[in-house]
């Protein structure tokens, strides 16, 4: 089984829909320890992405991802704009020219996106950011691939691990992003960016099954 270009588009639409449904929730999480805009930011970006998708419907996956990344960079702003934007642009580089993705291709794309987030934001695991969700998610994905799992299985495992990573941000004291200004008071809250990252992996698993 591979992931077709159309399936990639379906995933992006599912991610946009999930962000839209949960925008108020993400904003609430961000109000608790940030500035109350993460949901609005991501929603503005993904709605803009939706308007751009028809223009790349017949392009390769790399072009689709790069377009998504550029759209996010130019419409989101804040911390999440450059972070998600860089993630997708790097995923685009890793999948340039491909009309469908194998599990190996997907792992390489997520790895490249992950590296882009680290390069851009310089966060480390434990800083209470989206990196805390993505790190176990990527690790699970690689583990599944190394064990020869099928795509749906691998994606489900990755989503579950991402979710655990997201939940594990709750007790953490933030060291990056706005939440870090709160010091100890940032503990006992779930990181909004980790939550949107979980939606990313969750919608992939739900779409490509």
């Amino acid at each position: 089984m591979t992931i077709s270009r159309d399936a990639v588009l379906d995933w992006l639409k599912a991610f946009a829909a999930t962000i839209n449904e949960n925008a108020a929730y993400l904003t609430q999480l961000d109000s608790d320890i940030g500035d109350g805009d993460h949901g609005a930011n991501m929603n503005r970006g993904m709605q803009a992405v939706l308007t751009a998708l028809p223009g790349v419907a017949d392009k390769d996956v790399g072009s689709i991802f790069k377009t998504v990344g550029m759209k996010l960079v130019s419409t989101v702003g804040g911390a999440s704009g450059p972070l998600y934007g860089t993630m997708f642009m790097q995923m685009g580089n890793a999948t340039a020219g491909k009309m469908e993705l194998t599990l190996d291709d997907w792992v390489a794309a997520v790895q490249a996106g992950y590296d882009g987030v680290i390069m851009r934001g310089k966060a480390q695991p434990g800083d209470k950011t989206m990196v805390d969700a993505l790190t176990p998610g990527l690790a699970a994905l690689k583990g599944q691939r190394d064990n020869g799992a099928a795509i749906p299985e691998a994606l489900n495992a990755a989503a579950a691990a991402t979710r655990q990573g997201m939940e594990a941000t709750i007790p953490l004291v933030a060291r990056k992003g706005r939440a870090s200004y709160l010091g100890e008071r940032s503990a006992n809250h779930q990181d909004p960016g980790a939550t949107s990252s979980y939606y990313l992996m969750k919608t992939a698993a739900e779409t490509w099954k």
Binding site: D35, G36, A40, S74, A79, K176, G177, L182
Partner: protein, 333 residues
């Protein structure tokens, strides 16, 4: 939510239309991407200053575009950093051939977006330097964290670096002066009430009728501690001693003292704050050589204030005194 707005999503663009209609002699407004440039941009042979950040801090930054201050400002959504394409286009629009200085408040989003814009601008052959402001003593500084927020000193950096650029200093010189201002400036803020982000529709944090929040930033973020409301004498003492002890400012120092309202604070209270600050600094042997009192870097309708001190030398003082003609700050012109 009680605001003089139409729809939350239209606030920023309608504000820009208002600025455009009000100040055609001072600024021009560009839409999609959104940025404000001074009416006579680009100024040939002058270093251009570009700043930007989320909206909701008015008059900063759009109100500081004009002679002797910024060449361009990029407004993001409320409390959200603008995007690299805004900054890139603004940078190119104001580049007068002597290079462009980006003045960036130290927030993860602002840093990353300006970084991407600077990279793109350099790719297009524009010489770009960046100065990051990070003057908020309420935030613990450490190598492992996002570091201190850029708050009140940003206004002063924009004024002083703007004057230096007007005098045709080089990009490196203007950047060095901006960094000197930031390095010798310290701030702290407090809130009596929260503010309400239009698209959120409810206050970012809730405060009891007898509580205040100390160490807030400019985005309606809660501060580091919540405590019972105190007299302005006690509040100023807490804030000013944290500031003075941090640099530290010493007896005999000459400073610029900036008492800033957060948006919902009346001027009468800011003068009462200034009176306390004046007395406090006198007690420490520190002389206020210049001052600025008013709401210049705000958090929507938040009630509260911030205090910023800058240690002055003759050059900085002369640059502060130099003419400025912008919608939000004006003297000598």
């Amino acid at each position: 939510m009680k605001k003089l707005i139409n729809k939350p999503e239209d606030v920023v663009v309608e504000e820009l239309h208002g600025i455009e209609a009000a100040h055609p002699d001072l600024v021009k407004v560009h839409y999609e991407p959104n940025y404000i440039v001074r009416a006579d941009a680009p100024v040939k042979g002058k270093v251009a200053l570009v700043s930007g950040g989320g909206s909701g801090h008015e008059p900063m930054h759009g109100g500081f575009v004009g002679l002797g201050m910024l060449d361009a400002a990029c407004p993001g959504a409320v409390f959200t950093s603008p995007t690299p394409d805004q900054m890139l286009e603004a940078t190119k629009a104001v580049n007068g051939g002597a290079g462009v200085l980006h003045i960036v408040k130290n927030y993860t989003g602002d840093i990353m977006n300006f970084e991407m814009a600077a990279d793109l601008a350099r790719g297009d052959g524009v010489e770009v330097e960046s100065v990051v402001t990070n003057d908020d003593v309420a935030v613990k500084d450490s190598l492992y964290t996002a570091g201190r927020r850029g708050v009140g000193i940003t206004v002063i950096v924009e004024k002083i670096a703007g004057a230096a650029a007007e005098r045709k200093h080089s990009l490196k010189e203007v950047a060095d002066i901006a960094r000197q201002v930031n390095d010798n400036g310290r701030s702290m803020g407090m809130a009596l009430t929260s503010c309400t982000v239009p698209h959120a529709g409810k206050p970012t944090f809730e405060l009891g009728d007898d509580e205040m929040e100390i160490g807030i930033g400019i985005h309606g973020e809660p501060g580091r501690t919540r405590m019972k409301l105190k007299t302005v004498h006690e509040i100023v003492e807490m804030m000013a001693s944290a500031i003075v002890d941090d640099l530290p400012y010493k007896s005999g120092d000459q400073v610029l003292a900036f008492v800033n309202g957060m948006g919902g604070t009346p001027l009468i209270e800011l003068y009462v704050v200034y009176n306390e600050l004046h007395n406090f600094l006198k007690g420490r042997g520190i002389k206020i050589a210049r001052n600025l009192i008013g709401s210049y870097i705000t958090s929507l309708e938040m009630a509260g204030c911030s205090i910023t001190l800058l240690e002055l030398d003759d050059q900085l003082q002369a640059l502060w005194d130099a003419p400025v003609k912008t919608p939000g700050m004006r003297w000598g012109a």
